[in-house]
Symmetry: C2
Subunit: 709 residues, 2 copies
């Protein structure tokens, strides 16, 4: 063991780096070349070095680098990327491998991130392109300091399949050294904020990205897409973006990136027509280049040893490969007004009927192998396409199916072919630990109820979208539900000033716009206690053997993984099909129903009833929520909208309303402003205040009116 004398290097306030052995020079951070947001980090200030990290031990051998860190008995481990199955990983082994079929609780996912946040108030990032395995207290050493609690499984109902461990073990395979980053708290939110700022600050989408999105059937041609766009307008349903699925290509799977002559004979005209109807266009693509693509031959020398669906897998760690793709994309897509991409299939699968991806032993011209490339493919594609828009001073917002370390600043939202609503909400919570955005996207459903419940969730997410690629489903296809559908599409639009400001905080302060309850500052313990008190009084260990399904007993999880925060003030508690009520954990303080203003006492869990037309949303005492009028589209650059400001409860409150042109990167040159909306405490005679707009800064808001709940 190489312990104690580790040479931690100061990186920025509250961030340190450690280099052990001889790390691989190619890492996610070396590939991404993120520029940490030093301004934001300096604002956060210095913090004490987390003592646990002094106890980091390492063993390096030919096979791997092994790290060991201490765990206290009550310590919880969060993060590790876009996890669908679990929030607290304490006691579990997590294999952090990119995988498009994360159907088991193993840690594999579209976007694994070897960055954990400890409830002890620190975070650790393993900067590697390898598939890291984290044993989060799932292993016990013979020389453990904890006296083993030996129990007889046959007779003792407290027997545990995984005994309590005093250590977290981390294996980085194939490497003889590693670079590690340490993030101080003291609370978990600050760990996450430092990580996001270290990655360059969170993504700030264009305003239109926060409008409603609709993806049409793969079989659609120009005429059908325009017909459907007109139908949206006829019905006066908000929608900013149409997404085209594979069928727009002359060949998909593998992919040409060129328009289909048959279905889209005049793309320029089509894009203009859609623009006139108020729709931006987002193009589906995948990374595997078809032999019929014009760029195929020039990309071939820069592609990996193995093909996918017969297409090349280009090595986008090479500038030569990037240049070829970017040139083609600029000419065929960006120059005619395409707003962004959905980058599909960059994760890979080995499951039945769908085994596809270059293998881990594939080789790439840069020297990366298939294991490394698969772990970072989604990152490289995000970086390349983000920069392609950035040089035009144009913001994009899109979808991507794989991501990993250091992605916080990319304007891409993760999605999945999985379709479990509860898992989708859990992923929304978990994404917030790892600098990721996630959309619990809506597709077709078996019932009207399920459609509405999923729609409600997606309207309180980073990207509100109906994805009809396979089904051709439309928002008005579910019988009597259209008024409810309209209500949430409209509410999504109204909330744009609030949500856009939350994203600006993500960018400038690192605070995730959607957050797990565990990140609610100062209330973690109370929330957890309330939640645990309200768990059904099931035994957490086995009482009866089930030889078919749970031979080792089932654990009852106490994760708060079905509710989350949007921005500073809104607590979202989705309902799932089949439910008409649910339990909601309210942090300490008074909370108010978003619609009715009804008051609930927090610091406990409550049961709420909600008909199909309602998703329970609570506002904290003193919460301020700026709303704009219902519109079909996001405000364009230079356009002004009136603002209704709601204030809830009797406490004083303040809201930072962000403003810029909403479309360009001019904010990087200081072309933005924060408007302060504030209310003093009622007991001191409630007064409201809206700070004046700065001169010579973009200004989109006017006619502020206050409403009190």
């Amino acid at each position: 063991m190489n312990s104690n004398k580790n040479q931690w290097i100061y990186v920025a306030p509250g961030i340190w780096k450690l280099i052990l052995g001889n790390p691989n020079e190619v890492t996610p951070l070396s590939l991404l070349q993120n520029k940490p947001s030093l301004e934001g980090l300096n604002r956060m200030g210095d913090e004490e070095f987390p003592a646990a990290a002094y106890q980091l031990d390492s063993i390096i051998n030919q096979k791997q680098t092994l790290l060991t860190l201490p765990l206290t008995e009550s310590e919880n481990i969060y993060g590790l990327g876009l996890q669908f199955m679990r929030m607290n990983h304490r006691g579990y082994t997590r294999v952090l491998r990119v995988n498009s079929d994360p159907r088991q609780d193993t840690g594999e996912t579209h976007a694994p991130v070897p960055f954990y946040i400890s409830s002890e108030g620190y975070g650790l990032l393993i900067n590697t392109c390898r598939i890291v395995t984290m044993y989060c207290g799932s292993t016990v050493r013979k020389d453990s300091t904890l006296e083993p609690k030996i129990r007889d499984r046959s007779t003792d109902s407290d027997w545990q399949a995984t005994p309590t461990s005093d250590q977290l073990e981390i294996v980085i395979p194939h490497e003889q050294g590693i670079e590690i980053y340490l993030f101080a708290g003291p609370n978990m939110l600050n760990v996450v904020r430092r990580y996001n700022l270290f990655c360059g600050g969170g993504a700030l989408p264009p305003r239109w990205g926060l409008g409603f999105w609709h993806r049409v059937s793969i079989f659609f041609d120009e005429a059908k897409a325009i017909e459907e766009a007109i139908e949206f307008r006829k019905r006066e349903l908000p929608c900013d973006v149409f997404g085209l699925e594979p069928g727009w290509h002359s060949n998909s799977y593998p992919t040409s990136y060129e328009w289909s002559d048959q279905r889209f004979p005049d793309p320029q005209k089509f894009v203009s027509a859609m623009k006139d109807l108020g729709f931006r266009l987002n193009l589906w693509e995948n990374p595997y280049v078809a032999p019929i693509a014009r760029i195929y031959e020039s990309l071939k020398p820069f592609a990996g040893s193995h093909t996918v669906w017969g297409g090349l897998a280009p090595d986008y760690s090479l500038e030569e490969a990037q240049r070829i793709l970017i040139k083609q994309h600029e000419a065929d897509h960006l120059d005619i007004g395409i707003s962004g991409y959905k980058i599909d299939e960059c994760d890979g699968s080995e499951l039945t009927g769908a085994s596809w991806m270059f293998p881990a032993h594939a080789t790439f011209p840069s020297g990366l192998d298939g294991e490394q490339m698969r772990q970072v493919y989604g990152l490289l594609l995000q970086k390349m396409t983000t920069e392609m828009f950035h040089v035009r001073n144009q913001r994009t917002y899109g979808l991507v199916r794989a991501s990993s370390t250091g992605a916080a600043s990319f304007p891409y939202v993760l999605y999945s072919d999985l379709y479990d609503h509860r898992q989708f909400v859990r992923a929304l919570c978990n994404a917030s630990f790892s600098g990721l955005l996630w959309t619990p996207e809506l597709r077709e459903t078996d019932t009207d109820e399920d459609f509405v419940r999923r729609l409600q969730t997606v309207c309180f997410s980073p990207l509100a979208m109906l994805n009809a690629w396979a089904s051709g489903v439309k928002p008005w296809n579910y019988g009597e539900t259209e008024p409810i559908v309209r209500k949430y599409l409209e509410l999504r639009m109204q909330l744009m000033p609030y949500l856009y400001s939350a994203f600006a905080r993500y960018h400038f302060d690192g605070t995730p716009p959607f957050r797990a309850m565990e990140l609610e500052m100062g209330t973690e313990l109370n929330c957890r206690q309330a939640h645990e008190m309200n768990l059904d009084q099931q035994n957490s260990t086995l009482t009866e053997f089930d030889s078919h399904e749970a031979a080792y007993g089932k654990r009852i999880t106490s994760d708060m993984d079905d509710q989350y925060m949007m921005g500073d003030s809104l607590l979202i508690a989705p309902l799932f099909a089949g439910e008409s009520s649910r339990k909601v954990v309210l942090p300490i303080g008074d909370w108010f129903d978003f619609e009715s203003g009804e008051c609930f006492e927090g610091g406990r869990s409550i049961k709420v009833q909600a008909g199909l037309d309602k998703i329970p949303v609570f506002v904290r005492n003193g919460g301020i929520v700026p709303l704009m009028p219902v519109r079909l589209n996001a405000p364009a650059a230079g356009e002004e909208v009136s603002i209704e400001i709601r204030h809830y409860g009797k406490a004083a409150g303040e809201f930072l309303l962000f403003d810029d042109d909403g479309e360009t990167y001019n904010y990087e040159q200081g072309e933005y402003q924060w408007r302060i909306l504030s209310v003093s405490e009622e007991s001191q005679g409630r007064t409201t205040h809206v700070s004046l707009a700065e001169d010579n800064k973009p200004s989109s808001y006017k006619d502020f009116t206050w409403n009190f709940y």
Copy 2:
């Protein structure tokens, strides 16, 4: 690529070895030290070197050893151990990792074996303790010789998620070299026979091992076990072995290997009482040694770095560790008459609620790491316990939950906590490719019908057992079904001379007693054609997108994985709950219903009806089946039983009836004989013949009577 000039070394008739690079000296074969059955291999004779192996290429780097072999377009790949999900692995990536929760179609299983059998008529064994990944035509290289068939997934229903590949790639991680064994055919059965003989010949269980087994509840004590044994005898139900589950230990999970004072105060007396009732005893155990065990302290220096459930994981590659365990087992178990073991939990799991096993980075005193040890733990435990009985000249038969390369000669049968009847039958087929035995063991069921259908299957398997560990279920617990249950327990006993002879063929000739249809010599192609013709006319590729469950389309498999051969003449076609009829593929020639003698034309698939009291069993034309009378126990050494010989159809036939004492290893010194039962063709005047018993050889059979069907 290091090709063409590979130096294949002749090992035995039809078997060659290749050493590439610097292989790890510790391999499954080096640990097991199997003695190939040269007698059997010489009887099979020489065979041409399989030409495909000349094209084996390899690349060795710091990370791994990579092998490449050619695939023809129609080539199928079988084997790879106890696979539940699939028979033909062509087009799939298989990760051959030991895992107790093989719930996905990835290749992981309790008993993966890096040995594949090609339909081109050869087999290849990768002799390594590492987790081999086999890309069985699931990867395509950029420089593939096959012209890629590029199709548009959106519009072309022939699009495939995994395009056809011309190569099989094999990755052995962490190794800079490898030892490979090549087995010639020319047909697949001979490949398998050579492999089994190379491993020392198949296991020959004691006769009593082929009787009926019953495992009692973990909560049972002496009195309850004896009470249940008496009930079996009262009801006159055949049963040879009672299995005790964890509760017999003073501590289980981890395990003491010592009798519980409370439940089993006088084990010697208990074993005697059970023996008097006609029951042998099999003891459940797991490998993890509890601190309260007498042997704990002496094993501690020989155990791995990590504990499991707080117990030691001893390094049984070390003789010191073996000696400690064996000495204790001999004194506490064997000396009082215990007949064998069920070695549980030697596979490991990372799934929810059940994460337990030493990690891959664990270290062991011998120098093996956790990855290697987990891959061979089941093998080491089988070897150690088999030898423990062998030195007493006493045969054992037991259960084990992990196995791998080279296990054919161990008298252990695999089982699982999975419980899918169709998967269980598929595993029975697949085990035959890899020198493994498998029991589709019966536990409690939701319905009477399911109980009977599973019972019928298990009675035509290597180990016929009801496992009541969790439920306490008894064979007479399913309402009106007791007469059917009795029928199959009795039939199991009657078939013992036939089945025991099939096992002797396994031992001496390498022919698996239970065989996949693909191993039926000379009929493979016809069977496959018949089977494929009869597949429902579903499209093998996607017709409609299902965005929830099958976004990449579903493949229809054409595996013959729901019927199998038992011995030379019996074709078993289990029914599954909910079915009253099924399709059966009959190889070329006439086939006869086992019970009624009804004749069916083969070379095609037929539909058979069968009520709950019947499992469809067919006998080939000329098939000879020796039966003994219904008995409650297998014949003891020296005991004689009368034999009914059934002959089916009109063709000539011959059966080799094996005989020895049925309990010891004296057969290794030639103390056995084969009796020839033969019938000449009816058209030439049917005559029957039973060869005379040899003098001075064990003889168990008398009073032969013939019956013709």
